[in-house]
């Protein structure tokens, strides 16, 4: 009996270590790798681009704004008629996401497209939000919202603060300038 239990325990340990080893590529590594790939468009926006006058905000709104660090965007747009390449890239990103430590918040699938929102950290101190959207044919997009102990309580104050922001449009457009043909897509998804 004891032997049997030992065997079961051993199998469990091996299985668990297998699972933890299996997360071969992290989301961070994936971003780094694809950011330098010519097939991808990447964009990093610092939170400062929102240009919010932090001093004039209420304490809670200040906390909300300060907990946000930056936005990381990665877009894949496959060439016309190269659906096999799209499938390959999508499979790769799905595998990375499935093996990650991110927890699902919402996922939606329709015949026209699919999307998932995930997060990393604890529910009251979120380190990162990750959104993935795909049109299942040609394009997919990954958006990472990086922060420091983002609290869901801050979402409402953050929206209030955002309404008072003075986004530097010229700066934003300059960043987007290199991505002309895909600009629409990014705008739409953001």
């Amino acid at each position: 009996m004891k032997r049997f239990l030992n065997a079961v325990g051993l199998i469990l340990i091996v299985a668990m270590s297998f699972i933890s080893c299996n997360s071969n590529k992290s989301v961070q590594q994936y971003f780094l790798e694809k950011q330098s790939s010519p097939d991808f468009i990447s964009l990093t926006l610092p939170a400062s681009i929102l240009n919010i006058a932090v001093d004039s905000l209420a304490a809670e709104e200040q906390d909300a704004v300060n907990s946000l660090k930056k936005l990381n965007v990665l877009v894949y747009h496959s060439p016309e008629g190269a659906s096999d390449r799209f499938t390959k890239e999508e499979e790769e990103v799905t595998a990375v996401l499935n093996n990650s430590k991110y927890q699902d918040l919402i996922s939606a699938h329709t015949p026209m497209g699919s999307g998932t929102i995930m997060f990393l950290g604890a529910e009251s101190t979120i380190d990162e939000f990750l959104a993935f959207g795909s049109d299942l044919k040609q394009n997919f997009i990954l958006i990472r919202v990086l922060g420091d102990n983002m609290n869901p309580k801050h979402i409402k104050p953050f929206i209030t603060a955002l309404q008072q922001s003075d986004i530097n449009e010229e700066e934003l457009l300059a960043l987007l300038a290199g991505l002309k043909p895909k600009q629409e897509l990014i705008k739409k998804q953001l």
Binding site: S107, A108, P111, P152, K153
Partner: protein, 188 residues
């Protein structure tokens, strides 16, 4: 010795059936002809946290109270006859295995709606709510029948909520999450 073996094997069986039950309708998520929305427990926790500010709104308060105790919410919709039949079969086999009881059945010209619950502490508190709308006749609703070159004559909806659900307060959930309105009938 023998007894232990029985206990262990029944535990394992329980574990296997539990993990099966959890992934029960999940395969419809990867079915191309199905639209699905899956909301996790974490999402409900987050929602309840950032909704907490509005204390004067009774609907929001009900929503917060309920959102905290919801484990998962899944909605699957299809316009395809074959997938709809498949869903129907899956629901039937799930009902056979689980101890859900029928709450009510509504049939009219347009659709056949069935509600099942896993009873909780009181009549209005349930542990699980399953709604299945079979063959909702879109034609009679005079809606757009052809979307993306696909004829949409029927619509089937499968909705599953697991957690502590108060049927009397479900309208708050329906309003906040844009759930199918048929659900309102459970609180009447």
């Amino acid at each position: 010795m023998m007894k232990n073996k029985v206990v262990i094997s029944s535990l394992m069986l329980l574990f296997v059936s539990m993990s099966y039950a959890q992934s029960l309708f999940d395969r419809f998520e990867n079915e191309p002809k199905v639209s699905s929305v899956v909301v996790s427990k974490s999402m409900f926790n987050l929602l309840s946290k950032f909704e907490v500010v509005v204390e004067d709104d009774p609907e929001a308060r009900d929503f917060v109270a309920m959102a905290k105790s919801i484990e998962s919410l899944k909605v699957f919709t299809t316009f395809d006859k074959n997938v709809s039949d498949d869903m129907s079969a899956e629901v039937a086999s799930y009902l056979k295995k689980s101890n859900l009881t029928e709450l009510m059945r509504i049939k009219d010209e347009q659709a056949n709606v069935k509600f099942y619950i896993r009873p909780g502490r009181t009549d209005s508190q349930v542990k699980e709510l399953l709604m299945f709308v079979n063959g909702f006749d879109v034609k009679s609703m005079d809606l757009n029948l052809n979307i993306n070159g696909e004829d949409r004559n029927i619509e089937s909806v499968l909705l599953s909520i697991v957690g502590d659900i108060d049927l009397d307060k479900i309208s708050s959930l329906i309003a906040k999450m844009n759930l199918p309105e048929e659900l309102n009938q459970v609180s009447q």
